[in-house]
Amino acid sequence: MSATSPGTTKRNLASWLRERSELGVGVLLFVLGVLVLTDALTLDADLAGRGPVGPATVPLVVGCGLVVVAVLLSVDVLRGGRGEAEAGEDVDLTEPADWRTVLLLAGVFLGFAVLIGPVGFPVAGALLFWGAAYALGSRHLHRDPLIAAALSLLTYVVFDMLLGVPLPGGPLMGVI
């Protein structure tokens, strides 16, 4: 063991960490717990109301719970416990995770949130559907955009015109 070069130690550390990436969950829970606790402690205790339970009590309990669970979970992981990744009909756990697709999907979704104001729902919605289908591996370049556009326009018509739930129509509203 003493003869290992720094390179292999690094690699060992990396693979050790990869094995135990669930520790990240523990860290996140811990951070969340601290966040809840700090937020609870900044509440104005003057308005506490009556009795032993004020606005900060429940957050304090939840925050402490988060910290405790974070520690317990980390201990469990270090002892070799592993959370079982969820299986499902469309899920192939034998394949390595394809994080590129996930990032792409999340990006497309975020794009929808950003674009819906300036370009309107029909355009943003069509881009969302098309982008998501593309990210998930659909490559019908002439069919997909048309399906996406039709779906988006139909949804717009049903919501905005038939039901009166307002959705932004796009930059050309009122111009034509």
Binding site: G51, G83, E84, V102, G125, A132, L136, T155
Partner: protein, 498 residues
């Protein structure tokens, strides 16, 4: 007997061709709109209010009842097929219903839900006819300490959905409780975990949490591990409920109403907690425990039946006390007032024709709903045969529409995505998502009742156990907690004796 006679008169009103037509139109419109993302029953009823303006009151309310039940059923359809519950009462249906749909048993899940709605609605409405005055009198005696006791009971029940790893289940529950903390504190109006954002002041809607954790989280998780080789479509399977299915579910259908109805009738009951309690009960009692989480049909049948019966319970409080216990009831109350009718203690005397016509049309509407939806179930289920990229793109699309349509705020979309990413992480590391959703439902409710009870008792802790009802519930809780221990003792005794 009096109410029976009145009910028969009511059927006379409800079964006139015109009123029958309004009931049918209501059921159809309600289902069609309830299926749309982001539109729950309250929204559906509010949106369709103008449609009823032209009608005379009886016809309008008969149509209303159809819309209400139709919208509730439509909500569970998307919940089962697309994993995107449109309202909080349909959240539980997604847990078992969606895996069933994925496994090609969508038609069965929908049929179990449809029959569940029918059974729940029927039994609930019968209870409404028989018990309305009694229940109404009891309902007002239920106060904050009693609610709190019920919440404690529900929290005990959570332990049975924590999953194989207790610690991971607890982590999930705590994540849910944390999300539930976000928003203005009910009692003092202070902001908690809102980071100064007004949009967060009312908290994160449980529907957004459920859609985020279920639909978005699932879509992202599938994207990470998409089965690229197989490409086979979801099998359609048999279109109807098989004998086995019925054998497994008939008890669930009948049990649901007895959990749902009382919760609907009490002022702060709602439908979320009874659906969840029904789910837990079914899991406990099922002979197929191992199937739970992977598509157990009882887990659809029971909660749906409970949800529907709780809707009937809601009407008890509204018709007899003028007390709107849910958002839908509030909208209906407003509609009553539109016609110059004030629901309340005098309604049954003043407008017997309307009330009994409405109650009779609930029965009629239920039959129509079942007749409409049973044949439709296999048709809906075929929807899932579209290619995977379109299916998941569609789920993302409709989840986004639903989140945006509610308030027209882009921030809601970002919140939805963040919760979806949490859902992804939870799937990756084996944190069950159900406890998180339960945490969001139970946490704020329990805190509110606890603090309200203490406020009413002026801070004295005895205010938490000063009613017979709450003491009874706590006794049940103690027995439940001590049961494993007691059983051990009994078994040991028996062994010693033997």
């Amino acid at each position: 007997m009096d109410s029976l006679n009145s009910l028969i008169d009511g059927f006379g009103t409800a079964l006139t061709p015109m009123n029958l037509l309004w009931a049918a139109v209501g059921v159809l419109l309600g289902t069609a709109i309830g299926v749309l993302p982001g539109i729950g029953p309250a929204m559906a009823v509010a949106l369709l209010l103008p449609v009823t303006y032209g009608l005379e009151p009886t016809g309008a309310f008969i149509m209303f009842a159809g819309i209400y039940y139709g919208a509730m059923f439509g909500g569970s359809t998307t919940s089962i097929l697309l994993n995107t519950p449109g309202e909080s009462a349909a959240v539980v249906a997604a847990i078992e219903g969606n895996p069933m749909a994925k496994a090609g048993r969508g038609a069965q899940a929908l049929a179990a839900a449809a029959v569940g709605h029918f059974a729940g609605g029927m039994i609930g409405t019968i209870l409404l006819v028989v018990l309305a005055p009694t229940v109404a009198a009891l309902a007002v005696d239920i106060g904050a300490p009693d609610y709190l006791a019920l919440m404690v009971l529900a929290f005990i029940a959570v332990t049975s959905v924590l999953g194989s790893s207790r610690i991971r289940g607890l982590a999930s529950l705590l994540i849910g409780l944390t999300i539930g903390l976000v928003g203005l504190d009910q009692m003092t109006g202070q902001q908690r975990l809102t980071f100064g954002s007004l949009q967060l002041a009312d908290g994160v809607d449980v529907v957004i949490v459920a859609v985020g954790l279920f639909a978005i989280g699932e879509a992202l998780w599938v994207a990470a591990h998409l089965r690229r080789t197989a490409g086979k479509a979801i099998p359609v399977g048999r279109p109807w409920l098989g004998r086995d299915d019925v054998k497994r579910t008939w008890k669930s259908w009948l049990r649901g109403p007895f959990i749902g109805f009382p919760f609907g009738a009490i002022p702060a009951g709602g439908a979320e907690i009874p659906t969840f309690l029904s789910y837990v009960t079914e899991k406990r009692l099922s002979k197929h425990k191992e199937e739970f989480g992977k598509g157990a049909i009882e887990g659809v049948a029971g909660p749906e039946s409970a949800a529907s019966a709780s809707a009937a319970g809601t009407l008890v409080a509204m018709l007899t006390l003028g007390l709107p216990t849910t958002a839908v009831a509030a909208v209906m109350l407003a509609a009553f007032q539109q016609y110059g009718i004030q629901p309340g203690p005098l309604l049954f005397e003043r407008e017997p024709e309307l009330v009994w016509g409405l109650i009779a049309s609930l029965f009629v509407g239920m039959v129509l709903l079942l007749a409409l939806n049973l044949p439709l179930a296999p048709v809906w289920a075929k929807l899932l045969r579209i290619p995977r990229p379109y299916l998941y793109a569609g789920i993302l699309f409709f989840a986004a529409v639903g989140a945006y349509a509610v308030g027209g705020e882009a921030l809601d979309l970002v919140i939805l995505l963040v919760i979806g990413l949490i859902g992804l992480g939870m799937r990756r590391y084996g944190l069950p998502v159900l406890p998180a959703v339960i945490g969001v439902i139970l946490g704020p409710a329990a805190e509110q009742q606890l603090r309200r009870a203490l406020q009413i008792s002026d801070g004295s802790v005895t205010g938490l156990v000063n009613t017979p009802f709450s003491i009874t519930v706590y006794a049940v809780v103690v027995v439940l907690l001590a049961w494993p221990l007691l059983r051990k003792v009994i078994v040991r005794r028996r062994n010693v004796a033997a």
